[in-house]
Symmetry: C2
Subunit: 438 residues, 2 copies
């Protein structure tokens, strides 16, 4: 059978991993795909450096000289015009018009596309999936969500006989590494971030990771797949981990929880409630025990109940292996692959609107009567209290937490406003509100 020819655009961390696996596993890939799978061309601005870094033959780059942007674009154009190329891997990254344009041109040229570009899929997924459907080509994106974890395949095909009710996950390794270090070593956010940067888990500008944006991109892609919800990225409520303190983690431990940056989405009829933010995860939930840069996803399904997937969320060969799996599937199934459809109907709402258990952390003056004042105000809003945590008195301050039964965040804010109206003087800090994930 005719070989299935692949070109890789961008030979950085992920693209280099894809190329290396394709060369090392050539025979096994042919066996799985039912036909030879050939790495035909690489495009990178720095061929010599990239070839050395990933142990690749320089010949695949089409020359040894460093390329200007214009030269790389010309080589890319030649690949797009080459009818022999069946599939293009986009691992340039970023959401520039150029990258988006290349992806659309790949599909318009009648080639399949595989990408790990979660930002592009989250922001431009509607256009890209429409372009793939129009061209009758497959858009592989396993590597865009949780790196090596085959979560896209599992939700799309493994759960095809079921209905996803909710998905929760730890989808940003940097944030999870930072929270794990803060918890294990009793250090603050800044120190843990510095450690993450030293270990290579966080970039020099960590905003997208610690601010929740990266996790938000992944959740946007997943809710499209699981619930048919398009354009989630535009309205998804996202917060990150930079405001989590050592004190929060101490209280969490006391409440038998770990604080994790959680992507959560659950459907109720035509409404999908979703958000990304720090949650208190009960120790009985597997996600609480996922430490370090690992990723994990938990799905609750209508027929098959709870599923958990754990694996590496990033890395050259880890993420590369997910793209290679897409290449093999596309080589085998080709245009029979159905891209995930956005369906009319489902609406995205903020998790805040869904009754959910919350833990509220109070940091107040250490005077008598506060527990009564706080719990009365919460009860007056019709909120049942599950647990009042141990009150850590220091003489100066009293830090304690209240875990509620399911209620809306707005009802908690109302209770806090009532307390403030009575005794604004007792608050040493604004109470912090964490959803509780069981």
């Amino acid at each position: 059978m005719k070989p299935f020819k692949v070109a890789v655009l961008g030979c950085g961390t992920v693209g280099g991993g894809v190329a290396r696996i394709m060369l090392e596993r050539k025979e096994a890939l042919a066996l799985s795909a039912g036909r030879p799978v050939e790495l035909a061309a690489l495009v990178d601005l720095f061929p010599v450096r990239s070839a050395a870094r990933h142990g690749l033959p320089i010949g695949l780059f089409g020359g040894e000289s460093d390329l200007s942007g214009a030269q790389a674009a010309a080589r890319t154009d030649a690949i797009l015009a080459d009818p022999e190329i069946d599939l293009v891997v986009e691992t340039m990254g970023g959401t520039s018009d150029y990258v988006r344009g290349v992806c659309e041109r790949v599909l318009a040229a009648g080639k399949h596309l595989a990408t790990a570009n979660k930002a592009l899929l989250a922001e431009r997924g509607d256009e890209l999936f429409a372009a793939a459907d129009k061209a009758g080509k497959a858009l592989g994106f396993e590597a865009a969500v949780c790196g090596a974890i085959p979560v896209i395949r599992v939700v799309k095909e493994g759960f095809a006989g079921d209905e996803v009710l909710s998905i929760s996950g730890i989808m940003n390794g940097t944030s999870n590494y930072i929270l794990s270090k803060m918890t294990a070593e009793g250090i603050g956010f800044d120190e843990a971030l510095k450690l993450a940067q030293e270990k290579g888990y966080a970039e020099a500008d960590p905003t997208l990771d610690v601010g929740g944006g990266d996790a938000g991109h992944k959740l946007s892609i997943l809710v499209r797949l699981a619930f048919g919800l398009a354009g989630a990225n535009r309205t998804l409520a996202v917060s990150g981990v930079s405001d989590v303190t050592k004190a929060d983690l101490r209280v969490a431990a006391e409440m038998d929880c770990a604080i994790k940056l959680i992507c959560h989405a659950q459907r109720s009829g035509d409404i999908v409630y979703a958000s990304v933010g720090p949650m208190m995860v009960k120790r009985s939930n597997f996600l609480s025990r996922i430490d370090g840069a690992t990723n994990a996803v938990r799905a609750m399904n209508r027929y098959s109940g709870e599923h958990i997937l754990v694996g590496k969320g990033a890395g050259s060969l880890e993420t590369g292996s997910a793209i290679v799996a897409d290449i093999v599937s596309i080589a085998r199934y080709g245009e029979r692959i159905v891209n995930p459809a956005a369906r009319p109907g489902p609406q995205l709402r903020n998790m805040d609107e869904l009754p959910f258990p919350y833990t509220v952390l109070f940091d107040t003056a250490d005077v008598p009567g506060i527990t009564g004042l706080v719990t009365t105000a919460i009860g007056d809003q019709g909120i049942n209290i599950d647990t009042v945590g141990h009150n850590m008195h220091s003489g100066e301050a009293a830090v304690f937490a209240v875990e509620t039964m399911p209620c809306t965040r707005s009802s908690i804010l109302k209770a806090i406003a009532v307390i403030r109206a009575h005794r604004a003087d007792i608050f040493r800090a604004e109470p912090k509100i964490f959803p509780v994930l069981y």
Copy 2:
């Protein structure tokens, strides 16, 4: 597009679940499959009872009367002869010549086959996969290993860009329920088995579950898929949980382990070392924390490292959902699905031949000098000792454990023989040997 028509043979626990999901999710299945998917016929000996149990229309059974075996066989023959039927679900179970013959005739009739019959696939997989290849049809078997966990799809397609180095798993929910109950409640095997039977987790004759046979069937299927190893079921070393005692569990806890019935296979070159049996699983390994009737699989891959999958291993709708996922994939990809090939080369060996860490439990007379005698004899075999556990003296007995660095089981047996040659009188019971899984 022409509907994809499915017949289900056997409407018991799993077949009934398949039928119910197909009816309830008709529209969603059509969307995923890219064509209508229709439940066309059911065969069962007791139509009225089965229809009532699973809430199914009696019309699908072709009549309301109970059927004799001959009548059911005639109805099955008619389905096999019906050119409109695209796929047959075999959920009769068992490994009788009749069931095997039906499966082969389904394929020979040019229809796809989906089954949850792990015993049949383990014992007759070679013939069945060959028959599927010859017919150019797909053999779906997602439901045969770990129920709802999409482990077949993940290993076959999700790991297509990688190479599996080892697979370990908790694949028998009954055994895991029993061990979990014994651990949590301090009860013995017999009492825990009785509880499992009351809860419906164990059958009246629990041999296949607690003896390790069921787990062995699943591991046989997985090593074919992951390593291309055919006929593993014939030589796989299998032991079960019925000899695990309360004392073993106490020692395990002391060694920071849980005892689990573990299916384990790992490849080294062309040798696949595999076995099923109770292991001491370190608390740092996720599998140690899987309690109750849940199943879990851990794979270590060459490129993407560690993967963990957790989910329900049994149940009507749980296992049914896995078969329906197969139906959807086959409706979409049809004969493009590549059945797992047995490859020449790999040889199966017993795990005992692979150097592995072991914990040896000694139950001896409570006299001085025994720790020295035991540890010296172990050291004399060239085995390094990792840990000597706390010695639980009772005055009459001394129970203690020694954890070794990786060594073969035979070298441990030699050390025990040496101790026995010196002081046969000190043993109150035969030392027990558990592999240790990190």
